[in-house]
């Protein structure tokens, strides 16, 4: 729980991973480049005294995740977003099964999403049904730029993709998280194209499309699409760390998002382990728009908006009852392990 000027802010981190990029797991040059690229992002944005060494970064493991996210990182609940990259990593980079290790141990603290790849055809549909059956996944994380065989990516608005999205509707998997941001391919289309979200969102109004990284560097395309599609949301992963190193730019980006999408359709995410949530959350919570920005966007980035972005919007999407969670977290295993119960008690007492 984050405390801001004496007020509690319930944090649901919409974007966390438990990945394995250990050298033994890398089986393709792309896998090595991928983690190196992540590490550049890590060192590029993390304050120097909070940076990890590359070895730790490759494979931090579940204990470190629990410490960084829950003990030190203010996070109350985390949403796993799997990224398979099976062509690059022997056992996958960050699979649903990897994430399930913690999600099954602390089900009250985690939301476990699955994934699909429409290029897997019938087998892929079967796997999706299996994930639903086994983990009751409420959503999927999709990585449209993933390589597979000769293919260097796929589109959300393809016929095959629609088949999978329809299966999501049938199975009650409602939250479609699309990675639209820093990526590897597709090669010749502008690699960050968000246009395919538009059609998919129109065709499946019963699904929610959360565009991670808010389409950066195609923020303008994203905001334009999202302004017209009420079931499109923006995830702040990768953008949030700018709040510390480039607060003015972050202010402009958040201003655009608030302007086009409104305060109910923006979700905070740390992208852990890209960055530790602690300093990212502090930076976002401390951020205020400049006078000029407040004038331009006609609003303040106030506590009410921050509360929604930090947790309430995700709670709405995933059907989480925050008040009930607070009562539960007074005494759950994680609170006991890290001595966090009091944070939830004090809130109860204050009410």
């Amino acid at each position: 729980m984050y405390r801001h000027d004496g007020e509690d802010v319930f944090v649901i981190d919409n974007h966390i991973h438990l990945w394995d990029a250990s050298e033994e797991n890398v089986i393709h040059e792309g896998g090595e480049q991928f983690i190196q690229c992540f590490y550049d992002y890590h060192t590029g944005f993390t304050p120097e005294d909070r940076q990890w060494d590359l070895e730790t970064y490759r494979d931090y493991g579940p204990d470190k995740l629990m410490n960084d996210v829950f003990r030190d990182g203010y996070v109350d609940m985390g949403i796993f977003q799997p990224t398979y990259l099976s062509e690059f990593y022997e056992d996958g980079f960050n699979t649903t099964e990897d994430n399930a290790e913690l999600a099954e141990k602390y089900p009250e603290r985690f939301v476990l999403n699955g994934s699909f790849d429409p290029r897997d055809g019938e087998e892929g549909l079967e796997y999706l049904r299996e994930l639903k059956e086994r983990y009751d996944i409420p959503g999927v994380k999709l990585y449209t730029a993933e390589w597979k065989g000769d293919s260097k990516g796929w589109r959300l608005d393809s016929e095959e993709s629609f088949e999978f999205l329809q299966e999501c509707v049938n199975l009650g998997i409602t939250n479609i998280n699309a990675h639209k941001g820093p990526t590897i391919r597709p090669l010749n289309r502008d690699a960050f194209d968000v246009a395919d979200v538009d059609d998919a969102a129109t065709s499946f109004p019963e699904l929610n499309f959360i565009v991670n990284h808010v389409g950066m560097p195609r923020l303008d395309d994203f905001t334009w699409i999202a302004a017209q599609e009420p079931n499109v949301y923006g995830g702040l992963a990768v953008v949030a760390p700018l709040a510390l190193s480039r607060p003015r730019k972050f202010g402009e980006i958040i201003g655009e998002l608030l302007f086009w999408l409104g305060e109910d359709r923006i979700l905070y995410g740390s992208d852990y382990g890209l960055w530790e949530p602690e300093w990212v959350i502090e930076a976002v919570m401390d951020l205020e728009l400049t006078d000029e920005q407040e004038k331009e966007y006609g609003m303040e980035f106030d506590l009410e908006k921050k509360r929604k972005i930090m947790g309430e919007n995700a709670a709405e999407l995933y059907g989480i009852d925050i008040e009930e969670k607070k009562r539960q977290f007074e005494f759950d295993e994680v609170s006991e392990r890290f001595d966090l119960g009091e944070a939830y008690t004090s809130e109860a007492a204050a009410d």
Binding site: D40, P182, L187, N188, R189, R248
Partner: protein
């Protein structure tokens, strides 16, 4: 023979010497197509070597055998990008831009380019130096490089439009006045005469009070309300915009409508705010992504680049 040799020597004598600065100045015209900023400013250029006679760094396929050294210098340019994952399409545009701009310099016969630390360095270096088309270097390419370039240029135009229109709003111009402006109205019809790829060196010279005397080069004067009034606006944001509008084929004649929607249509007064907000988003995107790239570049190479505001 003797005659042509003489001619070559005379040409050589007339050419300015090719030096590092000349190359760098020329490379300033090559931009990162996504950030709409010069690769020189962004510190992407890693090394420049000028070897009039020595071809050892050049592609050793003997392709220029038969050409005389008197033809000019051979120039080698090495560059690097903020991440190994930077779109190969963008990297290709920059590599070919470096090659072609360098070869435009008088006194340069051939340029060789090397991109380092990139996922697709080999394909890009081999393809660009062998002068292959993009589609040949990347066989799985499904969309031409030109189309991608055009779509990035349209974005860049829109971001520049935001800054130009802001300058006009700042001096009190109203939407209905702004949407009907033409290049002639803003006193920049001359840029059209120079055609595509006109250099927007704009702004830099304009602050100095050289021989122009009373003429204020830092501003343009715009007639409003049928010429009943005039307003003065900083020239730089308007001229920078006009060059990109020419590049994207939006402007061809002095009487064309200056500003446009993202799709290149004229802006109605009712849509002015909406279009301006979309242009603002394009500007924020560009500046925001610039911040991301700068952070990566800094982490990777320890270089810090000046950024607008922050």
């Amino acid at each position: 023979m003797a005659q042509s040799q003489l001619a070559a020597e005379r040409d050589a004598a007339e050419r300015p010497p090719v030096d590092r600065k000349a190359v760098l100045d020329r490379l300033d015209r090559v931009d990162d197509p996504e950030l709409d900023r010069s690769i020189v400013e962004l510190e992407y250029v890693d090394a420049i070597e000028i070897n009039a006679g020595d071809t050892s760094r050049m592609d050793g396929d003997g392709s220029d055998a038969g050409e005389s050294n008197a033809e000019g210098s051979k120039v080698f340019v090495r560059f690097k990008l903020p991440t190994a994952w930077c779109s190969p399409t963008f990297a290709w545009m920059m590599a070919t831009g470096i090659r072609d701009e360098t070869e435009e310099l008088p006194g340069v016969s051939r340029a060789t380019v090397e991109l380092i630390d990139h996922m697709h360095a080999t394909e890009i270096n081999d393809g660009v130096n062998a002068r292959e088309p993009f589609e040949e270097a990347f066989e799985d390419a499904t969309e031409g490089i030109e189309e991608t370039r055009r779509s990035l240029d349209r974005k860049a135009r829109l971001a520049r439009q935001y800054r130009a229109v802001e300058a006009l709003l700042d001096v009190g111009m109203r939407p209905e006045q702004i949407v009907s402006l033409s290049p002639a109205d803003v006193g920049l019809a001359d840029l059209l005469a120079e055609g595509r790829d006109v250099e927007a060196d704009i702004g830099e010279s304009s602050d100095s009070d050289d021989e122009a005397g009373d003429r204020d080069e830092a501003h343009v004067t715009i007639p409003v309300d049928g010429g009943a009034l005039y307003v003065q606006v900083p020239r730089e944001p308007i001229a920078v915009y006009v060059t990109k509008a020419i590049d994207t084929d939006l402007l061809a004649s002095p009487d064309d409508v200056l500003f446009a929607t993202p799709d290149g249509e004229a802006i109605s007064v009712e849509d002015f705010d909406l279009v301006h907000h979309r242009a603002r988003a394009a500007n924020v995107n560009q500046i925001g992504q610039g911040g991301v790239c700068a952070s990566l570049h800094e982490a990777r190479y320890g270089l810090s680049v000046d950024e607008p505001a922050d």
